[in-house]
């Protein structure tokens, strides 16, 4: 087979890989991206995007049940699960086609197949067991992503016990559902299925749901989910799943007591494991620890000219982090000046449950570790005109500042549309503004964003509308 040579080969076309490839092409590198399944990766095909399509359905469905408040009425509200899933798949397809177009527009070569490192600067690509390409590249970026972790005894079977993948294309909405794990993925599905009418129980091994978020946010979300009728068991563990024909009985340990819950379906969302197998890492100096590739600040592995980005290098497992790492890695390869390593404290995180959760930087507890003095501001949705008008009076915006320097250490939000607001604080953090620039910024009225302003003002005892 004729070998094809490139400046850069990217293994995997998820949000890390395809963005890295496009950036490389912009910088004049002859680039190839090798993808075994879908352009756009899990994010676009089985993650971020199709779940947002599903959650939009549940949001509208929820609003339909509260029409009276807005002076509207509707009869015989119902849904067709097949159509709901179809829309979600259509959205994913449209965006995947978009990635294909973008890669073509940027003259990135796309090879359909599974790539495997095959000696220095070489990747062998096979499709259905047949060799399809022999790629030679000066630089190689591994962007193979991650998949759902499976715990012994709680393995997904795709029928009764689902991972995110099956949960995304349900043939029908189960009457009852157990979600194991209350991170972003678990909580989003719990929220979707609860709104669509399922009885949902969430089991979290740590002492609170959404454990990476600020404690106040976790507590607030907990209360809201309970109000919606969700059952939340924290400091609890599923020890066993007994499968019947069309149901599962879970054994749950909590506080020394054992209970049994019988549900139609189980979703396992207990974490992520890196896709490090079958990509030819054996015999290279690429180091793998706890199923993730070890890299330095410039995403270099132990093997010269081999890099890794995104989920395969570890937490936070977020599409935008993967994309950003792709850009850093490629710009460094191209020798650009002023490339900054990723600062994980400037990576925002969003969870699209109801209410939405969004945050960036340190939680109040982490900021205070070691005796640092902080100033904390809070502003509730109930004090915001737009929130009231929208009929969304639940939620708050919290900001944490370093009392000495005025550095914005963290921002934590829960409530309607916070996922669209958090970038304001992310920009502030990236530009290293202090409280004073944020106070001087004019926020438009009436918007939810005014709460961000008020929260900053509150941290310094200057909030106006509270």
């Amino acid at each position: 087979m004729a070998e094809q040579s490139f400046d850069l080969a990217v293994l995997g076309a998820g949000p890390g890989g395809y963005v890295a490839a496009i950036r490389a092409a912009q910088l004049g590198l002859k680039t190839v991206v090798i993808e075994r399944e879908h352009l756009g990766g899990i994010c676009l095909n089985w993650g971020c995007i199709p779940t947002k399509a599903l959650l939009r359905t549940s949001e509208i469905y929820h609003t339909l049940h509260h029409l009276d408040e807005f002076g509207l009425s509707a009869k015989e509200i119902s849904y067709d699960p097949k159509k709901v899933v179809e829309r979600s798949r259509k959205v994913a397809k449209q965006l995947s086609d978009g990635v294909k177009f973008l890669l073509r527009k940027n003259k990135v070569t796309v090879i359909d197949g599974a790539g495997k490192l095959a000696g220095k600067g070489r990747i062998a690509v096979a499709k259905d067991g047949k060799a399809v390409a022999d790629v030679v590249a000066k630089h190689i970026i591994i962007a193979t992503g991650a998949r759902a972790r499976s715990l012994p005894g709680l393995e997904a079977d795709g029928k009764l016990v689902w991972t995110y993948k099956e949960a995304m294309v349900p043939p029908s909405i189960p009457k009852s559902l157990l979600v194991i794990g209350s991170g972003a993925i678990g909580i989003e599905f719990a929220s979707f299925y609860r709104t669509m009418g399922a009885e949902v129980t969430v089991v979290e091994v740590l002492d609170r749901i959404l454990p990476v978020e600020d404690e106040e946010v976790s507590a607030f979300a907990h209360k809201q989910f309970e109000k919606q009728g969700m059952k939340l068991l924290t400091s609890a563990k599923v020890t066993k799943l007994d499968k019947a024909k069309d149901s599962v009985t879970a054994t749950i340990e909590q506080g020394g007591k054992t209970t049994k819950v019988t549900v139609e379906r189980v979703i396992s969302a207990v974490g992520i494991t890196g896709n490090v197998e079958d990509i030819g890492l054996e015999g290279t100096k690429v180091k793998v620890e706890k199923s993730h590739i070890v890299v330095d600040e410039w995403l270099r592995t132990g093997e010269p000219n081999v890099y890794a980005i995104g989920d395969v290098v570890g937490a936070p497992w977020l599409a935008h982090k993967a994309s950003h790492e792709g850009v850093i890695c490629v710009e460094k390869i191209a020798g650009l000046d002023h490339v900054q390593p990723l600062n994980v404290l400037n990576v925002p995180g969003c969870t699209y449950c109801t209410p939405q959760v969004a945050s960036v930087g340190l939680t109040e507890a982490r900021a205070k570790e070691g005796g640092r003095k902080v100033k904390v501001g809070r502003f509730p949705y109930i004090g915001n005109g737009k929130a009231i008008a929208l009929g969304e009076p639940e939620g708050f915006v919290k900001t944490v500042f370093d009392a000495e320097t005025g550095e914005l250490l963290g921002a934590h939000m829960v409530g309607a549309e916070v996922t669209e607001l958090i970038q304001g604080f992310t920009i502030a953090k990236t530009l290293e503004t202090t409280e004073s620039e944020l106070m001087e910024t004019i926020f438009p009225h009436p918007t939810l964003s005014e709460m961000m302003h008020e929260s900053v003002l509150d941290a310094y005892g200057r909030a106006v509308h509270i």
Binding site: D337, H338, Q340, R366, A367, K368, E369, G370, G371, R372, D402, E404, T405, G406, E407, L431, E432, T433, T434, S436, E437
Partner: protein, 420 residues
Amino acid sequence: MPIELKMPALSPTMEEGKLARWLVAVGDSVRAGDLLAEIETDKATMEVEADEDGTLSEVLVVEGTEGVKVGEVIALMASAGEASPAAERAEPKREMREPAPAAAPRAVQTSAAAATAQPIKPVALPSGGKATPLARRIAAANGIDLNALSGSGPSGKILKIDLGLPPVTPAIRAAAAPAVEPPIAYGPPPDVPHAVIELSSMRKTIARRLSEAKRTVPHFYLSIDCNLDPLLALRQQLNADLAETGVKLSVNDMLMKALAVALAEVPDANVQFAGDRLYRFERVDISMAVAVDGGLITPIIADAANKRLSVIAREAKDLAARAREGKLKPPEFQGGTVSISNLGMFGIKEMLPVINPPQGMILGVGAGEKRPYVINDELTVATVMTVTGSFDHRAIDGATGAQLMGVFKRLVEKPIAMLA
């Protein structure tokens, strides 16, 4: 449509510069290729040429303005044949940079007519804006001089991390932050008549880089005496042979060659410290310190170990001449793997030079002078020169430095070897 004249990038890494002087006035007609202005970067002064014919209709950045960003519109020009460009122009697109005191006269011309009447005066603009708000605040609180730092952020912005303070992770924070010596700006002693001399870009760069070197680089110094007579004899012989070509070798040219050959032999001294790694160079590029009006500059003899002496001599002469005229291009003085500084011509016996960061060593050369000297247990008189290497101890250890100095001495005393 007026033609926008933009601040040019005079080197690939240039981000901003000082608009030192306008060479044309508003209303002047300009032909393509005419010189328009002089731009000063931190080390060089360069001229900007016109790309097209036209008439200078408006100056947007007055001379003397520092920190003009590459790509910023500095003037408007009416293309040849265009009638009254200034009058046609709508609201200025660009936000004018306003000097702080209202009393300072704005020297920006708004029409061709007014141009001839008022001379353009330089307006000194406050520096700053090169650091993030957080970095500015922390620097102020800790007495850190932002002008002494280079930024790692977008467009060279100084970020919090560039201040070099310990990271504010909770665990580390418990330990007291090391006190940072605030650079104190003393006022002049009372009643002493004095002149105030504003620092040139070059002076500021020297101050910043050498402060950085002395503050962050642990120097150690190794001195050795060399018998210069064999080298002087060889020089005389070579110069006699070269007389027809017009090339004349200086002692310094030969010392540069000796240093380069010595470094090729001891590559562990041709290194650069970079935090978590070292760079060991496979080529010796010598930065030679040249005193110029208002400071010094270090043009580079690239790959000096592999260049013939006559080539080094010709390049050194040309670089030094253009350095004194301020006509070096940035690639000619940016880089270099080691430096050499020679104060022998001033009769200095011994000098301990400051390392030129990020390089790992610099050689200071004293005067060659007749001194009592012992050769084969016999006291004689020889031309002896003391040279001192300053080394970055993070990258180079004493034994390596000593080895380099030994090889250098051997080459100076048996100079024929460096021609091999």
